[in-house]
């Protein structure tokens, strides 16, 4: 209970009359001191009574609109107060978490109730740029009757969870069906030295006598040979396309982010099975990362880090020749034909507002003359070095260059998008010719472009076109083509297509709704571990 300035003034008045009584030597003035003092005491007691009554009758809520959100998203919290009529003026202050940014202005967190008010509410808009679990502070209420003031904590302290931006639900499958892609135990169909018994067969001339199973021979009366499954590994090369077209999508949820998630899970699986893994990353002008096949533990970690470090390379500006490019920079390439999107082209990632990081990278790429670019430019150019510069068709050339040098035919996993189907088909053919088996993981552009779901029917048509491309690739011998997409967007498009097909019977009979089945298969995780998909 803190007195206000007015109360201090009255207290001073009481003291003055006491002093005056002594000065003029008149006891009657002490009567004024006593009366004013009693007046203060009773006001104080009355304030306590009102405050107690307010505490008993007050109901206060502090309710966030959402309990889970993502970094940078805006949401609201509503504060509501209800109480019986009180003579106190109440000021409620919401307890926003420290890590939030109030977007409604500093005064927006305050809810004021005049005396005799019985209810009030206020909605506060805020943003949370920091990921994590954030707890609201308890709201505070300051009650005053004009003479005394007290501040109390009221109401609950709810918690919100802020997730970092990134792929939330990765769908890997075909036509809406989920498919397991991660490697598990795989059959080699070869016998040799190993631990797992394969078969027991009769000795035939030419067999090595060391392999005779003497116990079986004694039991069966004729020489028998026990064969074992040969322990083999499966060399896997990840070819990750990180050209500019892979930058489509919201910040942290681009095509490349989704493909990166899948690639990381494959690397983790390969590490578990001791399968050798290599990585080739292809930018706009050539190979940016090339790691040879290896089973070294540090190499797995290195590949993992390289995948995390991958960023979509920037498209050259139209006036890319205005400065002399540094060694290895990506600014001298000709305009790429791959910017044409055959499935449906021109509405692309350029519609999305660039993030601050992306703007900074563009500044560095374009060689702006501000202090930022001048300071960091040399370091950035050194970092952005291509290991192998390829003049045209970087994806195909990279595949050709990489696979040609492999002694064993590896399992090739290609991560890319559908922005250039012709080049993609040729790339898959090259991979198939030079490798053993090809898995193509494609992101459909329609599910990543901002605003593309505004007209779901058109989006469905574009998805059908993508699905045809995927099926064409999947029909090739030794090739499996799968889609990688955000599950929510995919479900929206498929639902729209299903509704459209139902509304117009026969009109879309030639188009797949959900590919191999109409509805996504439930009950399996998107990227299960230990499942076999080696074909």
């Amino acid at each position: 209970m803190r007195p206000t300035r007015r109360t201090w003034g009255v207290g001073l008045l009481a003291l003055s009359t006491a002093v005056l009584a002594v000065v003029v030597s008149h006891p009657l003035l002490l009567g004024a001191t006593v009366m004013i003092g009693v007046w203060i005491l009773v006001r104080q007691y009355r304030f306590y009574q009102e405050l107690s009554r307010m505490c008993r009758t007050l109901t206060f809520e502090q309710t966030p609109e959402r309990s889970v959100l993502r970094t940078g998203e805006t949401t609201t919290v509503t504060v509501r107060a209800a109480l019986e009529p009180s003579q106190l003026a109440l000021t409620f202050t919401a307890g926003l978490p420290t890590a939030t940014v109030n977007q409604s202005g500093p005064s927006s967190t305050v809810l004021e109730l005049e005396p005799e008010s019985t209810a009030g509410s206020k909605t506060i808009r805020f943003e949370c740029p920091v990921a994590g679990r954030h707890q609201f502070d308890r709201a505070t209420v300051t009650a005053t009757d004009g003479w005394f003031r007290e501040t109390l904590d009221v109401g609950p302290a709810p918690t919100i969870t802020v997730d970092a931006r990134g792929p939330r639900e990765v769908h890997v499958g075909s036509g809406g069906d989920r498919v397991s892609i991660v490697q598990g135990q795989h059959s080699s169909d070869q016998s040799g030295s190993g631990l797992t018994p394969a078969e027991l067969r009769e000795y035939v001339p030419g067999d090595n006598t060391d392999r005779i199973d003497w116990k079986a021979t004694a039991r069966l009366a004729t020489p028998h040979i026990r064969t074992y499954e040969a322990n083999t590994d499966r060399p896997t090369i990840l070819v990750v396309d990180h050209r500019s077209t892979l930058d489509t999508g919201p910040a942290g949820e681009t095509k490349l982010d989704y493909l990166r998630d899948v690639a990381l899970s494959i690397v983790a699986s390969a590490r578990q099975l001791d399968d050798p893994v290599g990585l080739v990353a292809v930018g706009n002008s050539g190979i940016t990362v090339q790691t040879d096949l290896t089973t070294d533990l540090t190499q797995y970690r290195r590949i993992r880090q390289q995948l995390f470090d991958l960023e979509a390379t920037i498209e050259s500006p139209p006036d890319h020749g205005r400065r002399k490019p540094g060694p290895g920079t990506d600014t001298s390439e000709p305009p790429r034909s791959t910017t044409q999107t055959p499935v449906e082209g021109p509405r692309r990632w350029k519609n999305a507002p660039p993030t601050r990081a992306r703007v900074a990278v563009r500044k560095l790429e374009h060689g702006d003359r501000d202090v930022f670019s001048r300071t960091l430019g040399p370091f950035y150019r050194q970092r952005q070095t291509y290991q192998t510069r390829l003049e045209s068709e970087p994806l195909r050339s990279a595949l050709r260059t990489t696979l040609r040098t492999q002694q064993r035919k590896p399992w090739t996993i290609l991560f890319t998008d559908d922005s250039d189907p012709v080049a993609l088909r040729e790339a898959v053919q090259i991979a198939r010719t030079n490798g053993s088996y090809v898995l193509v993981l494609i992101t459909p552009s329609v599910l990543f472009e901002p605003g593309s779901l505004a007209t779901v029917e058109e989006s469905y048509d574009r998805y059908v076109a993508f699905e045809e491309l995927r099926r064409d690739l999947d029909r090739l011998e030794g090739v499996t083509a799968l889609e990688v997409a955000p599950r929510e967007q995919l479900a929206t498009v498929l639902a729209a297509g299903h509704t459209h097909s139902t509304a117009m019977p026969g009109s879309r009979s030639d188009k797949p709704t959900g590919g191999r089945s109409d509805e996504p298969t439930e009950g399996r995780s998107d990227i299960p571990t230990g499942a076999d998909s080696n074909g």
Partner: protein
């Protein structure tokens, strides 16, 4: 005219006055008056006039103006100053009855300002009880020494005010439970090797 109507009329007038004088807080604070105040203020003016003549009427009017503009404490202080100034002697002599009547008016004004609703018996009892107790104590002490009486008055008021403050903190659970842990009984403190 009922009490309710009187209150409303005063509220409107004083709000208008408050806007003119740029004193809205004070005007609003004193806008709703208890009937005892409305009786006490004219009574004080009348008593001043009867006891001290025309000068008393002026003093009573000034006290009433002070009450209307700045509230009861200032009116009480000024009223007592006028009372002391208008008394012929330095002591309380033959005008004991007149002083008693005026003090009764002050007491009524004090009580009326503290009662917002007629049924607030608790507040009334607290006010009257503390007034009598403190007044008696001060009267008893000041007969020995006026300075001692003034000091006792101030100290008693300060202690009582602090007592109510502490009572409020405990009653509303606003006292944080801090466990003072001295280094000697801390579990992590090193034991005496002996």
């Amino acid at each position: 005219m009922s009490q309710r109507k009187v209150v409303l009329i005063y509220r409107q007038e004083l709000i208008l006055m408050g806007e003119k004088l740029n004193l809205p807080d004070i005007a609003l604070e004193t806008a709703t008056y208890h009937w005892m105040e409305l009786v006490a203020v004219p009574g004080i003016c009348l008593c001043f006039g009867l006891v001290f003549g025309p000068l008393g009427i002026v003093a009573g009017a000034v006290v009433a103006g002070m009450w209307a503009l700045f509230g009861v404490p200032y009116a009480l202080a000024l009223g007592h100053v006028f009372l002391v100034a208008l008394l012929p002697g330095t002591g309380i002599g033959s005008e004991i009855v007149a002083i008693g009547i005026i003090e009764l008016g002050f007491g009524t004004l004090l009580l009326g300002s503290l009662l917002r609703r007629s049924a607030e018996l608790t507040i009334g009892f607290v006010a009257i009880g503390s007034l009598i107790a403190l007044g008696g104590l001060v009267w008893a002490v000041q007969s020995r020494s006026l300075g001692l009486g003034a000091g006792v008055t101030v100290v008693v008021l300060a202690v009582a005010s602090y007592g109510i403050h502490r009572y409020e903190l405990v009653a509303l659970g606003l006292v944080s439970e801090t466990v003072a842990q001295s280094p000697s009984n801390s579990p992590t403190s090193p034991r005496d090797p002996k």
